[in-house]
């Protein structure tokens, strides 16, 4: 009886681990963590998504685009300081170095969600799919955060 329970536990553990891997990383070498979207008043039709992209492979990974069911358009943007002002511009891609990571964070890179189809409330989970140059896609569940 005890052995059966243990087997059952191991099985469930294994299955949940598999589904985790499928949800968070198509390629076993790229992991997305701390994915979140800035909560916005419902009148706003835009927001930004942030996350950490970790690349455990010996090859550079290049994020080329993103998409989400929640927004008509998703673009890679980069904030930077220009002439003493913060400037936001589209970025063609984000290079994630081999055995390295890149943090998308306020003041740096973000995935801009444009023309939101519904309001983003704190605590909502937003799926965002990242498209890499090698053709791999990773869907990540980002949580909507306020303060």
């Amino acid at each position: 009886m005890k052995t059966k329970n243990l087997c059952c536990f191991i099985f469930i553990f294994f299955v949940s681990f598999l589904s985790y891997a499928r949800a968070d990383g198509l390629s076993k070498d790229i992991f997305i963590s701390n994915a979140w979207v800035q909560a916005m008043p419902s009148s706003q039709k835009i927001s930004a998504a942030y996350m950490v992209i970790t690349n455990n492979s010996p090859k550079e990974a290049i994020l080329v685009s993103a998409s989400s069911d929640i927004a008509a358009t998703a673009e890679i943007h980069q904030m930077s300081e220009m002439n003493g002002m913060m400037n936001m511009a589209m970025a063609a891609n984000v290079h994630v170095p081999a055995q390295g990571k890149v943090t998308l964070q306020p003041g740096g890179f973000h995935i801009m969600l444009i023309n939101l189809k519904k309001p983003l409330n704190k605590g909502d989970i937003i799926p965002i799919t990242l498209h890499f140059q090698d053709g791999s896609n990773i869907t990540v569940n980002a949580d909507v955060r306020g303060q």
Binding site: P41, M88, P106, G107
Partner: protein
């Protein structure tokens, strides 16, 4: 290069400060920039989010946090306002009630008073949205040596955007700008400085 730009901007800003009043001492602290009590009052008049005239000089005795931004700003403005919500939560009731955040829109074309009000309410802080004609707003922007620039994003699905300075001006109870907070400043440290005023 970005750091260099920032340093140049700060040097220019300091230079401006020096030329305003032959000031004695300025101290760069780890949080914000202490401008000392050397800045002249820079009063202004704009319209608030309820359509009423707003005079800064009517708010002596209150501590003011002044920010220039716009509601369709995706990164800097919500990040700053979210941080301010943390700052407010770290303050005692007395200080919190005497701390007024002023959000001056640089986008009067899209930011109607109603939109400003709804936007600021969302962040749950004691804030008033201010607007005016472009000329009126520019006068305030210039007085505080802030900067902004309209940018047409032709390749992006966005309409026009703004480049803008991301500083928060801390105005003391006498109406003098005593600190400049930067985006890197921590909420705890900002709250500490505000409590000290």
């Amino acid at each position: 290069m970005f750091v260099a730009n920032k340093i140049i901007f700060l040097i220019v800003l300091l230079g401006v400060c020096f030329s305003w009043v032959g000031c004695e001492s300025q101290e760069k602290t780890s949080t914000g920039m202490d401008l000392g009590v050397i800045n002249p009052q820079r009063d202004f008049t704009l319209h608030d989010q309820d359509g009423k005239i707003f005079h800064l000089k009517d708010h002596r005795g209150e501590v003011i946090l002044l920010f220039f931004g716009y509601t369709s700003c995706p990164d800097v403005c919500p990040t700053t306002l979210s941080k301010l919500a943390r700052v407010y939560s770290l303050l005692g009731m007395g200080t919190r009630q005497k701390l007024l955040t002023l959000f001056v829109t640089i986008d009067p074309q899209r930011d109607t008073p109603q939109k400003l009000k709804e936007y600021l309410q969302y962040f749950n802080i004691n804030a008033v949205g201010l607007s005016g004609t472009k000329q009126e707003i520019d006068k305030v922007v210039d007085a505080y040596k802030a900067m902004y620039e309209k940018v047409d994003t032709n390749s992006s699905a966005l309409g026009y955007m703004f480049d803008h300075t991301d500083y928060l001006y801390l105005i003391d109870k006498e109406g003098k700008t005593s600190y400049l907070f930067h985006p890197e400043d921590k909420a705890q440290d900002m709250a500490q400085i505000i409590k000290g005023l």
